[in-house]
């Protein structure tokens, strides 16, 4: 770690009705990876937006490279060498890698764009970062991990001195995360200051030098990563130790009946001949790398995408599922990995979302029985501990964790016996995450059967009664929780790639 490159002191920012930042301090040194942690709504993103000029601070000072600065937009910040690698990638899928990296500042030869030079420059960048990507490849053909690398290369090409990573690993597989870390270590060696925002505790321990924790818009403290434990950080974030205990053995009774049997399910390239059984009260974990075909399997099973073959049996009876409508009729509920796109109707109320799958039950004659609808919604708000002033609140105003609870409520109102949870805790903070875990365990104990797709190894090992591993569209293994280890799963998850 070198000298201090960036100091934020007493940063204060209010929005109507919210004191978003309450005199927050933050300090970054050259050659350090500094984690910024806190639950959703703790103010991490707001602080970074103040730093990069998206928001204007109400008071406080920012000192960068020894001078007091104030950026008015991201362009200013970029020009000074502070860049953000966003959680959602901002890439144009139809352009090539090189075109994306130099978008908005293309090299020109007269009036023409000089593609060759852009490709050369991209290659140089990639070589510096030890990344193996073809600059001529189309962006949409790359994996999410590779796209992220391009985003980083783009950031560095701005002569960055400070790079902010906003949840870079949220969509990456373990292997891709390792590559990402290799790059970050490289950047650290080059004496860049790196701010790393993440919810994943394990990563914080591995990659960062210091941790600054925020809570409710206020600065809580800064720790040296090597001198603290995960629990210390979590305590600072939420003020209490949490997390369900990991399972050591399956909670499913030996005589539990099979509720769902899938045989030779096929759907294009991404789902090839997948067969498995799900038992009553079981949480069946689906592990694998990004692009292993788990989501595609779930969508085909649910009828969201067409299947090209396979039989599905529910409670021993063969059923036809050609649309989500069929699936829901057969008691299957699907919680999508992409909540905003596939899970909730954000501009509508909690009530409207909660009864979306069950509306025919809340009709009296031709009309919606709004009283009954509200009653059941309020019941589930209470039961799931959804934080909202009322059932009439628009879902867009809820935090990620509470939105997830609304989706879960939708399926519980429908009384689905088989629930597919696809990345149920993605983008959810630590506190809410454990609530979702508790809820899943409770549902399983009540006799619901859950298929849980997760890219987080700890989550798979903590929650599953049994684990199925997929790789490149095929089922490559099935492991009981007693035998499951990270290594055993990774071995099967990469079987076909090696």
């Amino acid at each position: 770690m070198g000298e201090v490159i960036l100091t934020m002191k007493n940063i204060d920012k209010s929005f109507p009705g919210v004191h978003a930042l309450d005199h927050v301090d933050f300090e970054l040194k050259r050659g350090e990876v500094h984690a910024l942690m806190g639950e959703n709504g703790a103010g991490k993103s707001t602080l970074m937006k103040v730093l990069t000029g998206i928001y204007t601070k109400d008071s406080g000072t920012i000192t960068y490279e020894g001078r007091e600065v104030e950026f008015h937009n991201t362009h200013d910040a970029q020009a000074a060498g502070i860049v953000i690698v966003h959680q959602e990638l901002n890439m144009v899928g139809d352009l090539t890698v090189a075109q994306n990296i130099f978008i908005g500042r293309e090299f020109k030869k007269g009036f023409m764009i000089d593609d060759r030079k852009m490709i050369q420059e991209s290659k140089k960048l990639f070589d510096e970062l030890h990344i193996n990507i073809d600059p001529k490849a189309k962006m949409s053909d790359l994996t999410v991990g590779k796209q992220q690398m391009c985003e980083i290369a783009k950031a560095i090409s701005h002569q960055a001195k400070v790079i902010i990573f906003d949840e870079p690993s949220a969509a990456l597989t373990e292997k891709e995360i390792e590559d990402l870390f290799a790059i970050i270590r490289d950047l650290r060696k080059q004496n860049l200051g790196i701010i790393y925002i993440s919810h994943r505790m394990d990563e914080i321990k591995v990659i960062t030098d210091r941790v600054t924790v925020m809570r409710d818009g206020a600065y809580v403290g800064t720790l040296i990563t090597d001198e603290c434990t995960k629990e210390d950080i979590i305590n600072m974030m939420v003020g209490r130790v949490i997390y369900e205990d990991p399972k050591t053995h399956s909670m499913v009774p030996a005589d539990a009946p099979v509720v769902l049997k899938v045989e030779h399910l096929n759907a294009g390239k991404m789902v090839q001949d997948v067969s498995f059984e799900l038992r009553k009260g079981e949480i069946l974990g689906f592990s694998g790398l990004m692009g292993a075909g788990r989501t595609e399997m779930a969508r085909a099973l649910f009828g969201a995408d067409p299947k090209t073959g396979g039989d599905i049996y529910i409670n021993g009876k063969k059923v036809t599922i050609n649309s989500p409508e069929d699936a829901v009729k057969n008691g299957i509920g699907y919680l999508s990995e992409d909540r905003k796109r596939f899970g909730i109707v954000v501009q509508k109320t909690i009530t409207e979302n909660s009864t979306l799958a069950t509306l025919p039950k809340y009709m009296s004659g031709l009309f919606i029985n709004k009283g009954a609808e509200k009653e059941v919604t309020e019941q589930y708000i209470k039961e799931l501990d959804t934080k909202t002033p009322s059932a009439d609140q628009l879902v867009v105003n809820l935090s990620g964790g509470n939105q997830q609870k609304v989706v879960i409520a939708k399926w519980l109102v429908r009384n689905c016996d088989i629930l597919i949870f696809d990345e149920p805790t993605r983008g959810i903070d630590v506190g809410a995450k454990n609530e979702i875990y508790k809820l899943m365990n409770r549902l399983a104990a009540e006799g619901k059967s859950i298929i849980m797709i997760s890219s987080e190894m700890t989550e798979i090992l903590r929650m599953s009664d049994r684990i199925i591993v997929m790789c490149e569209g095929k089922k490559t293994g099935e492991i009981s929780i007693e035998e499951a280890t990270q290594e055993a799963i990774m071995d099967k998850a990469t079987r076909d790639i090696k």
Binding site: P324, L356, L359, V396
Partner: protein, 325 residues
């Protein structure tokens, strides 16, 4: 200002709709002052004549816009209904009641056609309705051999003019009653039935609704069918007030109907619709057209104004969404 917006009564009625209603009253006041004799019963009846048919068009297209779609065929389809039904009445001597039903059925069929193509075949609504607009114009012309069609006058010796009683009897505006009943029914459909709920939700996020096990195609198509049937009713009120229809026209009413919707707070992005807002919007446009006529300006001036209204209100909606996010 924030306090007023949070008032429960204001919230229920909608702040923007209250403002729009005030604009309506203000416009009426201004016209009454600058145009001698504007504040008369005759003028009001004339405004209402315009309100009826435009109202049914606008209420119909409100359902389509609520799904996030658009229908540029409503004006020409209305004319097509009036032409075909009127031609059948005059040339083939069909009973009036048959012609009226025929008008609604033709509108209904166009709605089914549009809705099927959008919801089940997956053709973008913009393209479908542009094509349908031309089909409707062409069909109306071919059917009537490119002749204009005049529906019977009220005093027609055949007694076929009775349908005009739907618009008014003497000085009593029967049309207003029918329109009011239609508003109430459509309000309930939009806010208290499964159809309205699904239409609004799928307009906001179709994929999420589909993955909730709802047959979204059916409900999306229904919005176009409701629109079509209302266009057929609009045609009856159009001829009831204005008698003559010419083939190959009707486009101008598209913009006026769409302008009414967006003024009233229905979002072009879908998912947000207000029946009451649309009605106030229709009144504003009807008043505007009467005022422009009274000022001896041409229809073209009104086209410019409605065009600007659409752009201004869509911009307001888009920027309000951006602020919220």
């Amino acid at each position: 200002m924030e306090n007023i917006k949070q008032n429960p009564v204001v919230k229920k009625l909608g702040f923007n709709r209250i403002i729009l209603f005030c604009i309506l009253l203000l416009m009426y006041g201004v016209f009454s002052v600058i145009i001698p004799g504007f504040a008369s019963m005759d003028r009001i009846m004339s405004i209402l004549n315009y309100t009826y048919f435009l109202g049914f068009l606008a209420l119909g297209v409100t359902f389509v816009i609520a799904t996030g779609g658009i229908d540029f065929s409503i004006g020409p389809v209305m004319f097509c209904c009036a032409l075909m039904a009127g031609y059948t009445l005059n040339t083939h001597g069909a009973p009036v009641i048959v012609s009226l039903i025929m008008s609604i059925v033709i509108g209904f069929c166009f709605g089914c056609f549009n809705g099927y193509l959008v919801a089940f075949v997956g053709v973008p609504p913009f393209i479908v309705s542009m094509a349908t607009m031309n089909i409707a114009k062409g069909l109306g012309s071919v059917f009537t051999k490119t002749q204009s069609v005049s529906w019977p006058q009220g005093n027609d010796p055949s007694g076929k003019g009775w349908f005009r009683n739907l618009v008014k009897v003497g000085d009593f505006p029967v049309g207003l009653l029918i329109f009011a009943v239609a508003i109430v029914i459509l309000y309930i459909v939009m806010n208290n039935t499964k159809a309205g709920r699904y239409i609004l939700c799928l307009g906001s996020n179709k994929e999420a609704v589909r993955l909730s096990g709802v047959n979204v195609r059916k409900w999306q198509m229904l919005a176009y069918v409701i629109c079509g049937a209302l266009v057929g009713i609009a045609a009856i009120f159009f001829v009831g007030a204005y008698t003559t229809v010419q083939p190959g026209l009707g486009d101008t009413y598209n913009n006026e109907a769409i302008a009414s919707c967006v003024m009233g707070g229905t979002s072009m992005a879908g998912g947000l619709a207000s029946i009451g807002g649309t009605v106030i919007g229709v009144l504003v446009i009807s008043l505007l057209q009467e005022g422009i006529m009274a000022l001896r300006m041409t229809k073209e001036v009104q086209m410019i104004i409605t065009g600007i209204i659409v752009i201004v209100f869509v911009y307001a909606d888009v920027s309000a969404r951006r602020r919220r996010n």
